[in-house]
Symmetry: C2
Subunit: 157 residues, 2 copies
């Protein structure tokens, strides 16, 4: 297999991660090509998994979910079967949009999006702290967010 992604592929990925509604025609004209090779390349990027999916990004605030919170968690008992159970519970909470197992001062880091402080407190009290073996729990409440994107800088690739 030759070079996996060439310059053109990288440019296409960059364009689509910024706006996935761009037409093949407009991408083609930007890159000085015609639609068919652009189309074929995009299909290839999809099939090979470089592009995972296409999604609409919503404005959480407008929808009524005004608060983002990060929660660092340390567990007390670390049996494998419990960890699996714990992660499974966490992932099923609709408030949780990210769950990472981390190294450092915590075992897990969660990212939540909730309505407001009250909804956050409800989550802590009637969901999170009901889980057993919970050790240290530390919350970081987002006061403001200056950057929040999924867009990757592809100049590094």
């Amino acid at each position: 297999m030759a070079q996996v992604l060439d310059k053109i592929d990288t440019k296409i990925l960059g364009i689509l991660q910024e706006n996935s509604n761009r037409t093949t025609k407009s991408i083609a004209s930007e890159l000085g090509m015609t639609t068919s090779p652009i189309f074929e390349r995009i299909k290839k990027l999809e099939k090979e998994g470089y592009i995972e999916k296409y999604v609409a990004v919503l404005n959480n605030k407008k929808i009524g979910l005004k608060l983002t919170v990060f929660i660092g968690i340390t567990l007390q008992g670390h049996t494998r079967s419990y960890l699996e159970k714990f992660v499974n519970e966490i992932n099923n909470f609709p408030e949780v949009i990210e769950c990472h197992r981390v190294s450092g001062n915590f075992d897990y880091l969660l990212k939540l999006v909730v309505e407001d402080i009250e909804a956050y407190e409800t989550f802590i009290i009637s969901k999170l702290t009901l889980l057993p073996y919970l050790g240290n729990v530390q919350s970081l409440i987002a006061l403001s967010t200056s950057k929040e994107t999924n867009e990757i800088d592809l100049s590094r690739v």
Copy 2:
């Protein structure tokens, strides 16, 4: 202004945030309607800002960015003009995909996506620690990620 989002709008948002390439026809058939009202509703949701943008989600690992890191930062000097400068610098680093000002044990929480541990170290040494007034810096390296989405549970809205 009447109820801002009705059930149909919410369903449309739910569908599009899961897969923005769904055709109006397929959405219409799922919701038991015809294409024109669906089309009009989507355009309205875009114009009013409920839908911010449409993006392709890439597979970072496949692209060569294998490491996600969270960094908690405390600052020492907190003059307003310095904060602005600091945030501005942070936001311009291509490794940083999120920057939140937080309350709790840190002033800022960053999310980074980088190639590997080496690239992470390079970021710390030759970018982050060059910024003045830096206090405590604490990294959480993602060992594994069980959930990572932008998708919001709309049943709460």
